[in-house]
């Protein structure tokens, strides 16, 4: 009796979803995107871009990612399930390239084209990687910084990660640009706050106290940038702050002038171009190894331009 009752409940819940699932995935090209995250605003913006491309190109796209960027095994489960579904193509942003290799190999053996996105995959398997050129994006931050401080002085960098690709690229991009193009600007300190706001705040304060004549600080991701701005405010300093990415806090800091401006990636473009590249691969087109999804500098003057506003997230 009760057996049956609870079973009927479970079955009808699943049947409801089962009915909707294959119906939309039947004839269309099916592309599975496995991302590094899901509910974070950045990833939702990537998803929005992917959905837009799906609508424009008439394909069906699913988008999944683990709850936090540490859940490497959950991402593997998602990739394994996606493979079982036998999609036409896969978009993948690896949390840990090494852990994903056996499954990627499996996809490759099954002839499923793989497009890497965001930070890419350390492997030859992906046909292309849709990502921000972080070196060029950070170089743009250096250009803006140089202009704001008048081409000479002392600057510092608060980085978010010493080991990840984005962390390395952004710091190097900024520092190398300064060295090459602005000989009168000295990078006096490079420190890492793990992208943590509080830690970055403390680091910023110590940098400012050690270098009272500092002219500018670059924060290399959202958490670092907010931390830098907080540190500046706590000490009442007037140092020029350039940030990276967006988010409600950073946007309001730019609006009220604590931060001069920031570089934004184009998460919508990352999602859109990943799907576009997957479709191109399925049509047998050749793809460039790296697809630059673009970046912009934004400040209080252009934040509301439609082109910029579209790629900023809260």
């Amino acid at each position: 009796m009760l057996n049956r009752r609870s079973l009927i409940g479970a079955i009808s819940a699943v049947a409801m979803l089962a009915a909707s699932g294959p119906a939309l995935a039947q004839d269309q090209v099916d592309i599975a995107l496995i991302s590094k995250g899901f509910q974070h605003q950045f990833w939702q913006a990537v998803k929005a871009g992917a959905d837009q491309a799906a609508a424009d190109l008439g394909v069906s796209v699913t988008f999944e990612g683990p709850e936090s960027e540490s859940q490497v095994d959950r991402q593997m489960d998602m990739l394994a399930a996606a493979l079982s579904r036998e999609p036409d193509a896969i978009g993948f942003a690896a949390l840990d390239s090494q852990a994903a290799l056996p499954l990627l190999q499996q996809a490759n053996d099954a002839g499923i084209p793989i497009i890497a996105f965001d930070s890419g995959v350390d492997s030859d398997i992906p046909l292309a990687t849709a990502t921000t050129d972080n070196v060029a994006a950070a170089a743009l931050a250096a250009d803006v910084m140089a202009e704001k401080i008048g081409g000479e002085g002392k600057v510092a960098v608060v980085g978010h990660d010493q080991t990840s690709r984005t962390g390395i690229d952004r710091v190097e991009g900024f520092v190398n640009r300064m060295k090459e193009a602005y000989p009168n600007i000295e990078v006096v300190s490079i420190q890492y706050g793990g992208g943590d706001q509080l830690q970055s705040t403390e680091i910023t304060k110590s940098i400012l106290l050690a270098n009272p004549d500092l002219d500018g600080i670059f924060g290399s991701n959202e958490g670092s940038a907010i931390g830098v701005a907080n540190g500046k405010q706590e000490l009442g300093s007037d140092v020029v702050v350039i940030g990276f990415d967006s988010g409600a806090a950073q946007k309001s800091m730019i609006e009220n002038g604590v931060m001069a401006g920031a570089i934004t990636q184009n998460p919508v473009g990352i999602g859109y171009q990943t799907v576009q590249a997957a479709v191109a691969a399925l049509n047998g087109e050749d793809l460039p190894k790296v697809i630059d999804t673009g970046f912009y500098y934004y400040d209080a003057t252009n934040m509301d331009d439609p082109e910029i506003a579209a790629v900023l997230y809260d």
Binding site: S6, A13, A18, T62, D73, A80, S84, R85, A99
Partner: protein
């Protein structure tokens, strides 16, 4: 509480346990049937193996937490303890270059030691299990980050380490069904734990503590010692989980683990183990863990949006426990 006097009730426990197992098992079968009908890709060897692989770690953690829940306690530290044990394996094997068996043993002993501490805090200091293991959860999370320097520790210098979870001894004998070793280890842990629960003094006291701790104490038994023993055994099992996840990822990921305890507890509850203690089975927990991974896998194969996957999983957990309550009202 329907279960009263402890060891005398054993046959009754078995009966209700068997009944519930049937219920959870038919739920699992129903899910499998529905998904098989809905998608031809579900009932494929490769996908079934993927589901089992996804169950291995959560299954082991769930079995560990089942023991503690049967005593009437709860263990919130299993997720981060798993990570801590993985990091210990990483330190032994990658940092110190010790042989693989020592690394595995080190991880399991680290788990047992942590369980010993949790058990002592609960039994001797009388800190409620929820609080004691919440504290341990945070301590272990922090220690994992400290020891590893907040970076993943890779096992590239230990060839064969990833075969612990990913290799397949079964596949060498029967190539058609390459069941990953990780899954076989889960089954082995399940068998051993079921044996301990059913056939040993430790098992009998595990149930007795959950049914009526005071009665056990009054009959002159050293309650604290047995309780600490259960936590230590549970911790050692979590250590096995730590080795499994480290092997699967070929790395110890220090930031991983928080949240995994809740999924393990969900598997335990779906499997019919009572959160008020005194009642529960390893087989039920295993089925509960399978239900969770079948559900996750099936919904993904059907391309259900991730938001809705979460909603459905939550609904199923509530339905499963509600069915249990209905059943007990009738009995």
């Amino acid at each position: 509480m329907t279960d009263t006097a402890a060891p005398a009730q054993k046959s009754g426990i078995r009966m209700t346990g068997a009944f519930h197992r049937l219920l959870a098992f038919s739920g699992l079968i129903a899910l499998v049937v529905v998904f098989s009908l809905a998608s031809p890709n579900f009932m494929q060897t490769q996908n079934i193996l993927a589901i089992l692989q996804a169950t291995a770690v959560n299954g082991v953690l769930a079995i560990a937490v089942t023991l503690v829940i049967i005593t009437g306690g709860i263990d919130l530290s299993v997720g981060t303890l798993m990570t801590f044990c993985a990091v210990i394996a990483g330190v032994f094997l990658t940092y110190w270059g010790l042989p693989m068996p020592i690394g595995i043993l080190g991880a399991i002993l680290a788990g047992a030691a942590s369980g010993l501490i949790s058990g002592t805090v609960v039994a001797k200091l009388k800190v409620p299990p929820f609080i004691a293991t919440l504290g341990m959860m945070l301590i272990l999370k922090g220690l994992s980050l400290v020891i590893s320097g907040t970076r993943p520790i890779y096992f590239n210098d230990t060839p064969g380490f990833n075969q612990i979870a990913l290799g397949s001894v079964v596949g060498q004998i029967i190539p058609a069904v390459p069941v990953p070793n990780g899954v076989m280890i889960l089954f082995l842990v399940a068998l051993l734990t079921a044996f301990i629960l059913g056939k040993t003094a430790l098992g009998r006291y595990t149930f007795a503590l959950g049914s009526n701790e005071e009665a056990v104490r009054l009959s002159g038994v050293n309650v604290d010692r047995w309780k600490i023993g259960v936590y230590a055994l549970s911790g050692a099992i979590v250590g096995v989980g730590g080795v499994l996840i480290a092997s699967r990822l070929n790395s110890a990921q220090p930031a991983l683990g928080q949240g995994y305890e809740l999924e393990a507890i969900a598997a335990v509850v779906i499997g019919g183990t009572s959160l008020s203690g005194g009642r529960g089975t390893v087989l039920g927990t295993l089925i509960g863990a399978l239900i969770i991974s079948v559900l996750a896998n099936g919904l993904r194969i059907l391309s259900v949006a991730q938001e809705w996957q979460t909603v459905v999983t939550g609904t199923i957990i509530i339905l499963a426990v509600y069915a249990d309550i209905l059943r007990r009202r009738k009995l």
